[in-house]
């Protein structure tokens, strides 16, 4: 019983062969069953994630979180789902009905599509395509499209502004994200996600900590989670692109966001923490699922930790961070990794690991110095504001403010 999934698949295969089904159709049927099973598991997990998210945010905010329904409030998400299903379903006036209803589906479906390439265990994975890394990026760009549709179809200005912000953010942060995933691709010599996991005898977070940090920050931005949640900034544009959605349609966006966070945590685990690697996986492949989810949930917790610890950044700060800091840093890390990889590819693996690690530490230190000097300059600028010339008198509702010193103008 080391690998029940493939055991069942093989059993089904023999049953179908005995029924006289042709081999090509057996492949189709088994793939279809696999898709349904994987998607269902992920969606059931999603209900549980609502509880995890609420419980963890409660701990961060020194509260208890849901604790009334069931043990530790475990049945709270079911009550939430029932509430969402019973809510009135409102479609705004003059909304584009078809697109309005399509976009929550895209939002959740694209996240589930990502699970097609996640290796859960050495022998248990959806599909081992040789362009797995690019596939993730491709699916991410479809989800951007879903959000853009949501904002446009709602016939609401706030929704459209939110959608524009989201798209600007997702399109920009895709750049450092892609470059940071390229570093594990260089180290493992493959774009296939299974191969990347197989070649991590030493976790890539040791060989490429810079890439790991950039991937974490840019996935936070891809998720639209704080500190990058300007797309749904409550104080500015109410709720952003999903402002008009009610009931289960909002629920799909919410579920999609939670699942996306876990999925990106899972990808971080796969690329940098060795995926399903762990003790005893060679003999019992099923253990890989356990190790994978432990790492994925740990990274999910880190993502939540960041979300609930940082205040929201402004849109210009968000774009500056991306284009002036993360992208150049990612490019530098990529070039250094590629060069050192060529120079030390014949050296022993421990030397190779050491060189990679040290080069990353040096790069991080330089990045820290650059950010530090920028922060000092910024603090100085904020503490010592520029003098603005204001022409008096200023006309304000009814009364006229008189200048303090001269009649032609004053420095304020």
């Amino acid at each position: 019983m080391s690998d029940p999934v493939n055991l069942i698949a093989n059993w089904l295969k023999t049953v179908l062969i005995n029924w006289g089904v042709s081999p090509t159709w057996i492949t189709v049927i088994l793939s279809a069953i696999g898709v349904v099973v994987l998607a269902s598991v992920v969606l059931v997990l999603d209900i549980f994630l609502v509880w995890v998210e609420r419980k963890v945010v409660a701990r961060f905010q020194d509260r208890l979180g849901p604790n009334r329904l069931g043990p530790f409030g475990l049945f709270q998400p079911i009550a939430d789902v029932i509430k969402l299903l019973l809510k009135e379903d409102i479609t705004p006036d003059k909304a584009d009905k078809f697109l309005y209803n399509l976009s929550p589906v895209i939002a959740l479906a694209t996240v589930i599509m990502l699970w097609a390439v996640v290796p859960l265990a050495p022998t248990i994975f959806g599909s081992d395509i040789n362009v797995g890394v690019l596939y993730i990026i491709a699916v991410g760009s479809i989800s951007t499209l879903g959000i853009l549709i949501a904002g446009w179809a709602s016939n609401n200005k706030f929704a459209l502004v939110g959608a524009f912000r989201t798209v600007a953010q997702m399109v920009s942060y895709e750049v450092p994200m892609v470059i940071s995933i390229l570093i594990p691709v260089i180290l493992s010599r493959s774009m296939g996600i299974n191969t990347i996991v197989h070649s991590q005898t030493v976790w890539y977070i040791v060989l490429a900590p810079v890439a790991a940090i950039i991937f974490l920050i840019s996935s936070q931005a891809e998720l639209g989670r704080a500190p990058f949640d300007i797309s749904e900034a409550e104080s500015e544009i109410v709720a952003g692109f999903h402002i008009e959605y009610t009931g289960m349609k909002f629920g799909l966006f919410y579920a999609g966001e939670l699942l996306h966070a876990l999925t990106l945590g899972g990808f971080f685990a796969t690329f940098f923490l060795g995926g399903w690697r762990g003790w005893g996986v060679e003999t019992y492949p099923i253990l890989g699922i356990f190790y994978f989810f432990v790492k994925a949930f740990f990274m999910y917790w880190v993502i939540m930790w960041i979300k609930y610890s940082f205040p929201r950044v402004r849109i210009d700060q968000m774009l500056n961070l991306n284009w002036k800091f993360l992208t150049p840093l990612a490019l530098a890390a990529l070039i250094i990794t590629a060069l050192l990889d060529k120079l030390f590819q014949n050296a022993s693996y421990s030397v190779y690991v050491l060189v990679m690690f040290l080069s990353n530490v040096i790069l991080l230190y330089i990045a820290y110095l650059v950010v530090g000097s920028y922060a000092r300059a910024e603090r100085k600028r904020v503490a010592d504001p520029e003098k603005i010339r204001v022409n008096f008198p200023i006309k304000s509702s009814g009364s006229t403010i008189e200048p303090r010193s001269t009649s032609e103008g004053a420095h304020v």
């Binding site: 090509t24 492949t27 697109l99 040789n130 596939y135 990026i137 479809i142 853009l148 446009w152």
Partner: protein, 170 residues
């Protein structure tokens, strides 16, 4: 009929239908989204041809970049939904004749081609077409010069965009 053929027929129908809707629908945003569907169909056809890299690149570039840029541009343009002009102008018979001639020509050529019924050979064990593509792109005997020329063209376009966007005041 094999499953692959059924999938191909469905996808081809979706691709062509989407392309037809792009030129016939009145709403510009809808037209852009039909274009996305059509491009997605082409990506699936690439998958059916065992060209996974091209499929993914199709989605990343055409849907993730170009289509989103087009939708952005349409949404920022005023009065998108008010296109009330006729969808077909007076030259449609000529376009129809050209299309029919093209279709007829392709059809006869493919009909007379003997190889059309031959199934593609599967890749030998351990052969990675993606790796082969990468090696060809950077090997001097392969496509190194076209690859570099294309890179320089893109770089020039990038610099040009920055120059245009550069504000002269300040």
């Amino acid at each position: 009929m094999t499953p692959l053929q059924i999938i191909f027929l469905i996808v081809a129908a979706i691709t062509l239908g989407g392309a037809l809707m792009v030129v016939t629908t009145r709403n510009l945003v809808h037209a852009a989204l039909w274009l996305v569907l059509s491009l997605f169909g082409i990506a699936i056809i690439f998958v059916l041809l065992d060209a996974g890299f091209f499929a993914v690149a199709q989605v990343v570039i055409y849907i993730g970049a170009i289509a989103i840029l087009m939708i952005f541009a349409i949404m920022l343009t005023r009065r998108v939904a008010k296109d009330s002009g006729p969808q077909i102008n007076a030259t449609w018979p000529i376009a129809g004749i050209v299309t029919l001639a093209l279709f007829g020509g392709l059809f006869t050529v493919l009909q007379n081609w003997q190889q059309i019924h031959v199934l593609p050979p599967s890749f030998p064990e351990g052969y990675d077409p993606l790796q082969q593509l990468g090696v060809e792109l950077v090997s001097p005997n392969g496509y190194l010069i076209p690859f570099e020329v294309a890179s320089i063209l893109l770089l020039a376009a990038l610099i040009g965009a920055i120059v245009i966007a550069w504000s002269k005041t300040k």
